[in-house]
């Protein structure tokens, strides 16, 4: 194996690309959870985003419409979750599971006529810089605009939650919906907005997969990334910056696994593929063991139904 610097740069670039859907979905879900809502439908919203993005790309031949449309469809499908959990006061866990099951089925139904159609080339930015600068070039340049957005998103989210009034309101709603409501905050409206935002981000994460990462439509192509994104939010103890770090670690494992397979190391492929899941469990154990640390950051009302007597 040659360890030239440029190769490592390319490797880091690949790791960044594979972590994008995780960053997007987990950042969206983080906002949703911060408002006290646990939406387990991430996988379902992502796969709906993936098929709508791809289908719109094929039908309209316009990547902009495809990307915006995928966000809209993620938002629309998360509206089902919002209606049920916020207006009809259903259990968050069960509703989220239903959303995932429904989303996987629905995407396959819509996607029936889109199997086997080749994708369109998504424009990559600064390709000349990627080629001309060794090592740093492949890391910083030659990516899609969505990747740059994804890497900025955790910082924006962090600023939004900590420094803006709206962010403060969201956190207040998540930590104590009753007192927030007594302060005159419309808890249901805040939670609806956070659910819809999470849906749009998951839709975008799905579109990244079907338009850029592996530009085609395959049934069930999200392959469990939605669940890893959910785990990432806990892994990050609801802190956006740690979501970014976690996503890079998981992206790293995925890429490393592919390369180890390519190099032909005598380790079973399946063990390597299982690594991200085993890692998630280990990390969850390590961070959850200290219950004070978890309690400090967990939105207190996470997953609880809020009902205001009228």
């Amino acid at each position: 194996m040659s360890f030239d610097l440029n190769f490592i740069g390319i490797l880091i670039g690949a790791i960044m690309a594979s972590s994008v859907p995780l960053i997007l979905a987990a950042s969206g879900e983080l906002i949703t959870e911060r408002s006290g809502v646990l939406n387990l439908g991430v996988e379902g919203m992502m796969i709906i985003g993936a098929i709508s993005g791809f289908a719109l790309m094929v039908v309209t031949d316009n990547l902009f419409f495809a990307v915006v449309g995928s966000m809209l469809s993620g938002l629309i499908i998360s509206l089902i979750f919002g209606l049920l959990t916020q207006s009809l006061l259903t259990n968050h866990v069960a509703t989220g599971l239903a959303l995932t099951i429904f989303g996987i089925g629905m995407s396959a139904m819509i996607g029936k006529n889109f199997v086997g159609i080749p994708g369109k080339e998504f424009p990559l930015l600064f390709l000349n810089l990627k080629e001309s600068i060794p090592f740093l070039g492949p890391i910083f340049f030659g990516h899609s605009i969505i990747l740059y957005f994804a890497f900025g998103l955790p910082f924006l989210t962090n600023y939004f939650l900590k420094k803006t009034k709206t962010g403060l309101i969201i956190r207040a709603v998540g930590d104590s919906p009753t007192s927030a409501s007594n302060q005159g905050i419309n808890v249901t409206l805040v939670r609806y907005s956070c659910i819809l935002y999470g849906g749009a981000m998951c839709g975008l994460a799905g579109a990244y997969l079907s338009l850029i990462y592996t530009p085609q439509w395959i049934e069930n192509m999200t392959g469990g990334r939605g669940w890893i994104a959910l785990a990432l939010v806990v892994f990050a103890t609801w802190s956006p910056i740690k979501v970014l770090i976690g996503a890079l670690i998981f992206g790293g494992i995925t890429i490393l696994q592919l390369h180890m397979q390519a190099v032909g190391l005598r380790i079973p492929v399946q063990l390597l593929s299982a690594l991200p899941y085993i890692m998630t469990i280990i990390v969850l154990v390590v961070i959850s063991r200290d219950s004070r640390k978890i309690k400090l950051n967990t939105p207190t009302s996470l997953g609880q139904i809020f009902y205001k007597e009228k």
Binding site: I101, I104, M109, K112, A274, Y277, L284
Partner: protein
């Protein structure tokens, strides 16, 4: 004007009627989706829900699919009743299948009445041990059981994949990703010639009966119910929360393991990559649709099993993907949860009955 009021008591009749309402709404929703996709909705629904069970073979297939679903859902009802979110039954099913299948392969040239019971027990044990991982991590390390049980599904799937491709693959199998066929004495007895319905259905029925006994006639069942209603009350009453969490996970895992071993010794007869069409996930819907009640779960498992058969028939006649069944399964759960609103709230039409105000 419409006024919405919280009910003080949950109406028993509405409690068991809302699942029927949910199924009805799902049929309407399904008809709309089929219409949008350009099918004749009545004909499509007929292919989905009537054609599959219009002959004896179809009815037997319905029971073949309902057998594991009912068994897993019964186990899950223990967890859900006590507010433990085990959503990794699929992994426990697969791990039970791996352990049971491993034993079956050990005995592949043995004959004897003892072979099948050993396989079944080891399968149940496998599922049970696998379910204890999220339970122990939850009780001693405060870890979220939803995520752990779910991550373990992928681990179990990959382990099965490794075994059937590698060390356990059939030596005479031309490198197909599957094990040897199990011996005759390692197979569930078939109940009727020409049909696939097998003795596993008795395991399911016995489990349903035992669960009813445990849930409604024992102290453990009482503890489970109280913990589900109010954790604070359970703590105040001095219930040993940790032990109970581990026990409900063990029961649930054993049921899923039994379902797995029932599949591989019943309809399948060997191990390969796809020993379960997501029964473990679908059983979550069955458990809810059956209201976590043993008898309710029996009915619910038949209805949800029909969505599997319907998807297969529709795949042949309408060329829709097999995942279509999941659209119906998701919708059933949506409508069921949504119609629960009627359970907890009264909708009053003001101005109609003034004397009630």
């Amino acid at each position: 004007m419409i006024k919405i009021e919280k009910r003080n008591d949950v109406s028993r009749s509405i409690y068991f009627l809302t699942p029927v309402l949910a199924i009805f709404l799902t049929l309407i929703g399904g008809a709309i989706i089929f219409y949008i996709l350009g099918f004749n909705p009545i004909e499509a629904l007929k292919f989905f829900f009537i054609t599959p069970i219009s002959d004896l073979y179809g009815l037997s297939e319905l029971l073949v699919k309902a057998t594991p679903l009912c068994l897993i859902a019964i186990g899950l009802s223990f967890c859900f009743k006590s507010n433990n979110w085990n959503i990794g039954a699929e992994g426990q099913l697969i791990f039970g299948g791996i352990v049971g299948g491993g034993v079956a392969l050990l005995f592949y040239n043995h004959d004897g009445f003892y072979v099948l019971p050993i396989i079944i027990l080891s399968g149940a044990l496998g599922g049970m041990l696998f379910a204890m991982i999220p339970a122990i991590l939850k009780t001693y390390f405060n870890t979220n059981e939803i995520l752990v049980s779910l991550m373990l599904v992928y681990v179990a799937k990959l382990l099965l994949d490794y075994l059937v491709v590698g060390p356990w693959s059939n030596p005479e199998g031309f490198n197909f990703p599957e094990t040897r066929q199990f011996s005759e004495s390692a197979r569930m007895p078939i109940l009727f010639d020409g049909l696939r319905i097998h003795a596993g259905i008795f395991i399911t029925l016995i489990t349903v009966f035992l669960s009813w006994l445990i849930l409604y006639k024992t102290y453990l069942g009482f503890q489970i119910k109280v913990s589900g209603l109010s954790l604070k009350t359970a703590k105040y009453a001095g219930f040993k929360g940790k032990t109970m969490i581990i026990i409900v996970f063990m029961i649930s895992g054993a049921c899923a393991g039994l379902a797995g071993v029932g599949e591989i010794t019943g309809p399948i007869g060997q191990l390969h990559r796809n020993i379960s069409p997501d029964y473990g996930f679908t059983a979550i819907i069955v458990a809810f649709l059956g209201r976590l009640n043993p008898v309710g779960i029996i009915f619910a498992s038949l209805i949800v099993a029909l969505t599997y058969l319907g998807a297969e028939t529709a795949q042949i006649f309408l060329q829709v993907p097999k995942y279509t069944g999941q659209v119906f399964q998701g919708m059933i759960l949506f409508f069921l949860l949504g119609s629960d609103y009627l359970l907890f709230f009264k909708i009053k039409f003001l101005g109609l009955k003034k004397n009630e105000l």
